[in-house]
């Protein structure tokens, strides 16, 4: 019996599942594209932004969209310091997305590890971790974040840290519940019987079987993180000026809503589009990955 594995099982069939998956995504496709566009803009900001987001043009302040001032065309107008709104939006996408990605990865990893540990170890480990999660969840997240930023001081790293510290219980709860049900599956008992040690059980047998639910939570949390970052920046607790952030731009625009609507309207629209698309993608993933709604 030869051990070599034949690696050519009709490629067409091999990708059939993937192709079916893409067809099933047709309804959310526009939102996937919007999300991808934001990501691309953020990644390529220096290349696609027409101007330096921080260069001021005090003579060209509060110009409406589509004006040309001193030979420069401002597609989306300028803000109260004469900075190009389009460029600031593009750079602002970097902040929104990176804060969201980092905080989701941090809180997701921490929450998943803690939840799985609680679900598998039971006993006092379970009590300590899950009650702590309950406590964190019982305090309004925004309030908690505001207090923590006030203590730690504002700034990019602190915002990420604070979001991770306030959001991990979401993942911990899901990971805990899923681990409890998977850990009692006969195949986990069998693997344990066959001599597999705890780390192998967690990584090889439990994690792959619960990761779908975690990913669903992560996508839904992602939109929330974008909103939280904007909220903290709106209150002046997020990334500090002059770094462009959609939340801070909204906050600035608020003072000029009556005279220069575009300063608040465009970042608001960007937030709306990004969060909407992320949430719809999340809903789609939930329908696909959550066995309960299948």
């Amino acid at each position: 019996m030869s051990a070599t594995i034949d690696k050519s099982p009709a490629p067409a069939r091999r990708f059939a599942g993937l192709r079916r998956e893409i067809r099933g995504m047709r309804a959310v496709m526009p939102f996937v594209l919007i999300f991808a566009a934001f990501v691309l803009l953020a990644l390529l900001a220096p290349l696609v932004a027409p101007l330096d987001p921080n260069s001021q043009n005090l003579l060209g302040r509060l110009k409406p969209p589509g004006t040309t001032a001193r030979g420069i065309f401002y597609l989306l107008g300028t803000d109260n310091l004469g900075r190009d709104l389009l460029s600031r939006l593009i750079y602002g996408a970097r902040i929104s997305l990176s804060v969201a990605i980092l905080s989701v990865v941090l809180s997701g990893t921490a929450g998943t590890i803690l939840g799985m540990a609680a679900g598998l170890a039971r006993g006092w480990t379970e009590t300590v971790i899950m009650r702590l999660a309950d406590i964190v969840l019982s305090v309004p997240a925004v309030l908690l974040a505001i207090i923590m930023v006030a203590v730690l001081g504002p700034g990019f790293a602190n915002v990420v840290l604070v979001l991770a510290l306030t959001r991990w219980p979401r993942y911990a709860r899901v990971a805990y519940g899923q681990t409890l049900s998977v850990a009692n599956m006969p195949y986990v008992r069998l693997a344990r019987f066959m001599g597999a040690k705890t780390p192998r059980i967690l990584l090889i047998h439990i994690l792959p079987n619960i990761i779908g639910a975690i990913i669903v939570v992560a996508t839904l949390e992602f939109g929330l993180m974008v909103l939280f970052e904007a909220g903290l920046s709106f209150l002046g607790l997020g990334v500090q000026p002059p770094t462009p952030s959609w939340g801070a731009m909204l906050s600035t625009g608020r003072a000029y809503v009556a005279t220069a609507w575009w300063i608040a309207a465009f970042p608001g629209a960007c937030l709306f589009l990004l969060i909407l698309s992320v949430n719809l993608i999340g809903d789609h993933l939930r329908d696909r990955l959550d066995p309960k709604s299948r």
Binding site: M1, Y187, M194, A196
Partner: protein, 333 residues
């Protein structure tokens, strides 16, 4: 069967849940290459006996006494770590639900190879090629391709074959099979039993088969231990037990096998009632509440009487000599 080498010797095994001895002084032995069936109704303690042998009894249960010798070593004295060292390697098990017992997100080949990998017996690639050989042995066509598939792509019977491959790949000395065919339909059952018979010859594995199905017992077992309410009530060679069942319970169990000879009006035989709850097991012979032959003598616990005269066939009943009366009672149910 030759008495060549005794692989498993259980002596007076007692497992308590709370104050009740759910497994009460069970003794049985399995020799090399032999299939011993542990038979009984649900709730008679046969699964707990198997779990106790492997040290997998639930946390609420306590082993109260006895010994479980596997190749001479008393497993009851093993630490959890020592037990982990032999499980899957010298001592293996097939569980009841083949489909649920396979990790849905792990390729079949990897799962078969798992016990070799976790015990460090073989490298990953070597283990996987041995897994493919094993899949072929359990009669899976195109094993190399199947090894790359996921359990959801296999049928129930295939999954049970894979389970058997998982259990036997490390060539264990003893295989405990807990109702291995219960979840399968009858034609697949026959195939799986045939496969087990073939493999125990090839791998020289002793098998302790837990079942409630007398048909399965007749098909594959060499020896039978009949269990009722935590005790072994009769044990002996399969031929001897079927020819001369010597405990009323065994008689009634055998009578439950449907016969082809009856008319269409013949009702299926059943044993009246069910195994009483542990807390109200009767004093003395525990079967006396359901036994047609019961009388005052049964209030004392009967010892194991030899039926055959040479100790190979024993039954724990005061009324072995009155068994013929049961036939006179006609349709017993």
């Amino acid at each position: 069967m030759t008495e060549s080498s005794q692989i498993l010797a259980v002596e007076g095994l007692t497992t308590r849940i709370g104050v009740n001895a759910v497994v009460d002084g069970v003794s049985l032995a399995v020799n090399s290459g032999e299939v011993v069936a542990l038979v009984g109704e649900s709730g008679c303690g046969k699964s707990l006996t198997a779990l106790s042998i492997m040290g997998l009894h639930p946390a609420a249960a306590r082993i109260g006494g006895g010994s479980v010798r596997l190749d001479g070593d008393d497993l009851l004295r093993f630490s959890e770590k020592q037990l982990r060292g032999i499980r899957g390697k010298t001592l293996s098990m097939i569980f009841q639900e083949p489909v649920a017992s396979l990790d849905p997100l792990m390729r079949v080949g990897e799962q078969v190879a798992e016990s070799l990998v976790v015990h460090g017996v073989a490298s990953k690639s070597e283990a996987e090629s041995r897994a493919i050989d094993m899949l072929e042995k359990v009669g899976i066509p195109d094993p190399a391709a199947r090894a790359r598939q996921y359990p959801a792509e296999l049928s129930g019977g295939m999954c049970q074959r894979v389970m058997i491959a998982c259990a036997l790949i490390a060539r264990p000395r003893l295989l405990i099979a807990d109702e291995p065919t219960t979840a399968l339909d009858v034609t697949i059952q026959a195939q799986i039993l045939a496969l087990m018979k073939e493999l125990r010859r090839e791998i020289r594995t002793a098998i302790l088969l837990i079942t409630h199905d007398m048909g399965v017992v007749a098909d594959i077992a060499d020896r039978v231990c009949v269990m009722y309410a935590g005790r072994i009530v009769e044990s002996g060679d399969v031929a001897s037990i079927f020819a001369q069942p010597s405990h009323p319970y065994t008689r009634l169990l055998l009578a439950t096998i449907p016969k082809l000879s009856g008319t269409r009006k013949t009702r299926l035989n059943a044993i009246e009632g069910s195994v009483p709850d542990v807390s109200d097991w009767p004093v003395g012979c525990r079967f006396r509440t359901r036994c047609p032959l019961a009388d005052d003598a049964c209030e004392k616990m009967p010892p194991d009487f030899s039926v055959s005269g040479d100790d190979t066939h024993r039954a724990a009943c005061w009324h072995i000599d009155r068994l013929s009366e049961m036939d006179a009672m006609g349709e017993m149910a």
